[in-house]
């Protein structure tokens, strides 16, 4: 499926749509690349930030991710796993970055923190503190699962861990977050 004159739209990015955009990128459609970039930026950024723990480096790695999406799009085979393919590129970049750089001990701001209570959601300040307290691998999995819409099976493929391990870490992360956030926030 080739999208003609793709425009920057905010739409729910699923695998099928991602497949279509990547196929269009392979044919040189820069509009498709821009669309994919703006629709996946936040989730890729949060995922990279959870790993590298540095805001500026995470932003730089997001740009690198989409540069490589453009570079390797001609080799992509649409099999309904477009989003996971982009995450694999991001994961590879994060691993390469961590091999050459020390992980920061400073807790980054994972998302803009607001002290206002929002309806039907956990207070972002409390959530930020809670996410900072779980282990890195648990944070990586729970953030990816929350923002990407990928299944745990797909996440296991992206980060190259057994499915059982991913399920256990996901469950454990949520258990810890429930405990840290406490009953007051629900």
């Amino acid at each position: 499926m080739i999208l003609k004159n793709s425009v920057r739209m905010v739409m729910k990015m699923d695998h099928k749509l991602a497949d279509g955009l990547i196929t269009a990128i392979a044919h040189g459609d820069m509009g498709a690349l821009e669309s994919l970039y703006y629709n996946m930026y936040r989730e890729i950024y949060m995922y990279l930030l959870s790993m590298v723990r540095n805001k500026n480096d995470a932003e730089d790695l997001v740009q690198d991710t989409f540069m490589r999406v453009y570079k390797y799009a001609p080799k992509f085979t649409p099999q309904g796993k477009g989003k996971a393919w982009v995450y694999k590129i991001a994961n590879h970049l994060a691993i390469t970055y961590l091999k050459g750089n020390e992980r920061s001990n400073v807790i980054p701001e994972y998302f803009p923190i607001s002290s206002e209570l929002e309806e039907n959601t956990v207070n972002s300040q409390a959530l930020h503190v809670a996410i900072s307290k779980i282990s890195e691998s648990e944070r990586q999995i729970v953030v990816m699962h929350a923002v990407s819409g990928l299944t745990l099976n797909e996440i296991a493929e992206v980060i190259d861990l057994p499915l059982g391990t991913v399920k256990w870490k996901h469950s454990n992360a949520l258990k810890k977050l429930r405990k840290i956030l406490g009953k007051n926030f629900f």
Partner: protein, 136 residues
Amino acid sequence: MNKDNIDQKIEQSIEQSAQKITPQPFYRVLEKIAKDKSTETYEDVFEKQTSKKNNVVMKSVVIAASLLILLAIGSVASVMSMNSFYSMDAEADSLYLAQTEGVDSGSSSQEDTVSDTVSDSDESNCVSGENCSNIE
């Protein structure tokens, strides 16, 4: 509120918090594309990740094969050492036998010498025509 509802709310909160992040402008990606001098290949990005599992399998196979080879060498070495032990025993036995035979063969050779001497003297007597009955 049950556990599943709470988990759903937590993940929903993470997702909604992520929506507040402001993306960097797209032109930065275009700049990266223009400056790309990466020598990394497609295989570098995708094959390395999947080959991690293969590497673990390969390492296990190599270790198992090495252990089998060591075991085989050990078995051969033990068999050879057993053989050499038995052959040393056999050598000792044959040496012992040779020594005992040597004692026996020494006494019989003396008798031969005596009998030769007797036969020589009989022959010399026989030349003269006498005492030739012992000579054939």
